[in-house]
C-alpha cells in the first residue's frame, strides 16, 4: 500500500521584505483510502504543501517521501487537480482527458475509449468533442478530475478544486469525489477554505494556522464514510452532529476570519 508522507517540513520564501515562513514543521501522512483535507485561511501555505507532495518544489527542511523514497519531482503516480483547471484549450475535451495517455504513447483508439469511459464517469458523456472554451467552470473541473484519473494515479492532489464554483455545482462534485474515492480507494489530498466541504470530505482533517503555516488541529470526521455507506449528502449535512462540528471549528479557529466560508450552502 502506497504511502505519501510529509515529515517535519518547513518552507521559506525569500522576498524583498525578508523571508516568508510559509510552512513550519508540518507533518502528515496519506495512505490509500484516506482523504486528507487541509483547511486554512488564504496564504497559510496550503498550495505550498500540495506543491511539495506533487514534486513541484522541495522543502527547506524535512522530508517528503512516497513509499519511503524522497520525492524529487512530479510524476504520473500523483494526479493533480488545479483550482484554475489548467486544461489545454487547443485540445478537445476528450483529448484533454487523454493527455496523460498521449504522453505514455497509448494508441489512438484506446485513448479515445478510455477518455469516453472517464468522461461518462464524471458526468460529461456526449461532450467529448467540445472545445474547452465551450464548457462551464463545473464541467472544466470535472474534466480536470477525469484527466488526473486517466493515469490511474495512487494519489489525487487537489488544490481548491471547487473554490470557484457555485454552491449547487460544488455539492454535486463533492459527491462525485467521494464516489470516485469509494470506487478506487485512491489516496486523496484536498485543499479548501470551506469548513463544510472539509468536514464532509475528510477522513482526516488538518487545520493550518497562517504565517507560519502550522498544523494546529487534527480531526477524523466520519461523514465521508457515512456517505460511502449510502447516506445522502443532504442528510449528512443536515445532521445536528455535522452542524455542531462545523460551528465548533468555526468558533475555535476562524471566529474572526471573514474569508472562511462557514455558512451552509
Amino acid at each position: 500500500m502506497a504511502r505519501l508522507s510529509v515529515d517535519n517540513v518547513s518552507v521559506h520564501y525569500p522576498t524583498p521584505r525578508g523571508l516568508v515562513h510559509a510552512l513550519d514543521k508540518v507533518s502528515l501522512e496519506i495512505a490509500s483510502g484516506d482523504i486528507v483535507v487541509a483547511l486554512g485561511a488564504s496564504g497559510c501555505g496550503k498550495s505550498t504543501l500540495l506543491g511539495l507532495m506533487a514534486g513541484f518544489q522541495r522543502p527547506d527542511a524535512g522530508r517528503v517521501t512516497l513509499g519511503g523514497a524522497t520525492i524529487t519531482g512530479p510524476g504520473a503516480d500523483r494526479g493533480v487537480v488545479f483550482q484554475d483547471d489548467a486544461l489545454m484549450p487547443w485540445l478537445s475535451a476528450a483529448e484533454n482527458v487523454a493527455f496523460g495517455l498521449t504522453l505514455q504513447k497509448v494508441g489512438r483508439s484506446e485513448r479515445r475509449e478510455r477518455a469516453e469511459a472517464l468522461m461518462c464517469r464524471v458526468g460529461l458523456a456526449g461532450f467529448e468533442d467540445h472545445r474547452i472554451g465551450e464548457l462551464s467552470g463545473g464541467m472544466r473541473q470535472r474534466l480536470g478530475l477525469a484527466r488526473a484519473l486517466a493515469n490511474r494515479p495512487d494519489f489525487l492532489l487537489m488544490d481548491e478544486p471547487l473554490g470557484a464554483l457555485d454552491a449547487l455545482t460544488r455539492e454535486r462534485i463533492q459527491s462525485l469525489i467521494l464516489d470516485i474515492w469509494r470506487d478506487t480507494g485512491t489516496g486523496i489530498f484536498l485543499i479548501t477554505h470551506s469548513i463544510e466541504e472539509a468536514l464532509f470530505l475528510a477522513t482526516e482533517l488538518v487545520i493550518l494556522s497562517p504565517r507560519p503555516g502550522r498544523i494546529v488541529r487534527r480531526l477524523q470526521p466520519g461523514f465521508a464514510r457515512r456517505y460511502a455507506a449510502g447516506e445522502s449528502a443532504r442528510s449528512i449535512k443536515a445532521d445536528p452532529e455535522f452542524i455542531r462540528a462545523r460551528e465548533d471549528i468555526l468558533n475555535a479557529h476562524f471566529a474572526h476570519d471573514e474569508e472562511i466560508e462557514h455558512a451552509a450552502h
Binding site: G55, F56, W90, T102, D179
Partner: protein, 280 residues
C-alpha cells in the same frame, strides 16, 4: 454506478454554451465592407476619368482597360523573357524557401531563448541590433559576400523574417501558462514532451502572428531587392518596365504585388482562425 447528473447551474451554462450558429455577423461584416467598396469603385472611376479625358498622358497613366489588357498579355506572352506567372513564381519561390528556412530555424531558437535565460541573454542583443536595420541597407554587404544570385535574395528575405519570428516565438514561450506546464509534468511529461505538447501549441498563436508581420516585411523587402538585382521576379519586372517607360506593365505589376501581399496576409489569418482560434 450511473453517470452523475449535471447540476441545474451546469445545465443552464450548457444551454447558453450551445447556441444556434451566430448569424448576425455576416450582414454586419458586409456592412463594414461597404465603405471600402465605395472607395475602391470611386478610385477606379476617378482613374477612368483622368485617363479617359486625357487629363494625364497615357504614357504616365494608362486607362484601366489598357492595364487589364496588358495584364492578360504579360500573363500569356510574357514580358522580359518570362510570363507574369514565371515572374510571380520566381518571387514566391524565394519567399517560400525563406519562410520554410526561417520557420525551421527561428522557431527552435525562439523556443530556446524563451526557455533559457542564458540563451536569451546571448542571442537577444544580436537580434535587437540587426532587426531595426532596413534589410536594403545590408543588401550591399550580402551582394559582396554572396553575389547577385538566388542565395542573396533568399538570404535577404530570410533575415527580414527571422528576427520578428524569433522574438514573437520567444515572447510567446515566456508567456506559456505555468500551471499548464505543472499539469503536464504531473501527468508524466518529459522535457521534450513539454515542448512538443504544451509549449509549442501554446505558442502557435504568437508564431502565426509573428509570421504574418514578418511575411509583410519580407515580401516588400524581396520586391525591393528584385528591383536591384534579379533577372526574374515581380520587382524585376516592374523595374525593367519603368526603364522602358512601359507604364501599363508597371501598374499591372504593382497591382499583382499588392494582391499577393493581401493573399499572404489572408492565408495566415485563415491559419490563425483555423489553428489558433482558441486563443481569441
Amino acid at each position: 454506478m450511473p453517470p452523475i447528473e449535471l447540476s441545474v447551474a451546469e445545465e443552464v451554462a450548457l444551454q447558453s454554451g450551445r447556441p444556434e450558429p451566430v448569424r448576425y455577423r455576416a450582414p454586419s461584416a458586409w456592412r463594414a465592407r461597404q465603405p471600402m467598396l465605395v472607395t475602391v469603385l470611386g478610385l477606379l472611376a476617378l482613374w477612368e476619368l483622368v485617363s479617359g479625358f486625357g487629363v494625364v498622358s497615357s504614357l504616365f497613366l494608362p486607362a484601366p482597360q489598357q492595364v487589364l489588357t496588358k495584364l492578360v498579355e504579360i500573363a500569356t506572352t510574357g514580358f522580359m523573357d518570362a510570363t507574369l506567372w514565371q515572374h510571380t513564381a520566381a518571387s514566391l519561390q524565394r519567399v517560400g524557401i525563406a519562410v520554410v528556412a526561417a520557420l525551421a530555424t527561428a522557431v527552435p531558437l525562439g523556443v530556446l531563448i524563451g526557455l533559457n535565460r542564458t540563451a536569451s541573454a546571448a542571442v537577444d542583443p544580436l537580434i535587437e541590433f540587426y532587426r531595426p536595420v532596413p534589410p536594403l541597407a545590408y543588401l550591399p554587404l550580402i551582394v559582396i559576400w554572396f553575389g547577385i544570385g538566388e542565395v542573396s535574395k533568399v538570404l535577404l528575405i530570410y533575415l527580414a523574417i527571422f528576427a520578428p519570428l524569433v522574438l514573437a516565438t520567444g515572447s510567446g514561450v515566456r508567456r506559456v501558462d505555468k500551471t499548464r506546464v505543472l499539469a503536464a509534468r504531473s501527468l508524466g511529461a518529459s522535457r521534450w514532451q513539454l515542448v512538443r505538447h504544451v509549449v509549442l501549441p501554446s505558442t502557435l498563436p504568437d508564431i502565426l502572428t509573428g509570421l504574418r508581420i514578418a511575411l509583410g516585411v519580407g515580401w516588400s523587402t524581396l520586391v525591393a531587392a528584385e528591383l536591384i538585382a534579379a533577372q526574374r521576379g515581380l520587382g524585376f519586372m516592374v523595374q525593367s518596365a519603368s526603364q522602358f517607360l512601359v507604364t501599363d506593365v508597371v501598374i499591372a505589376g504593382i497591382l499583382v504585388i499588392a494582391a499577393i501581399a493581401l493573399l499572404l496576409e489572408l492565408s495566415i489569418r485563415y491559419l490563425e482562425r483555423r489553428y489558433a482560434g482558441w486563443a481569441h
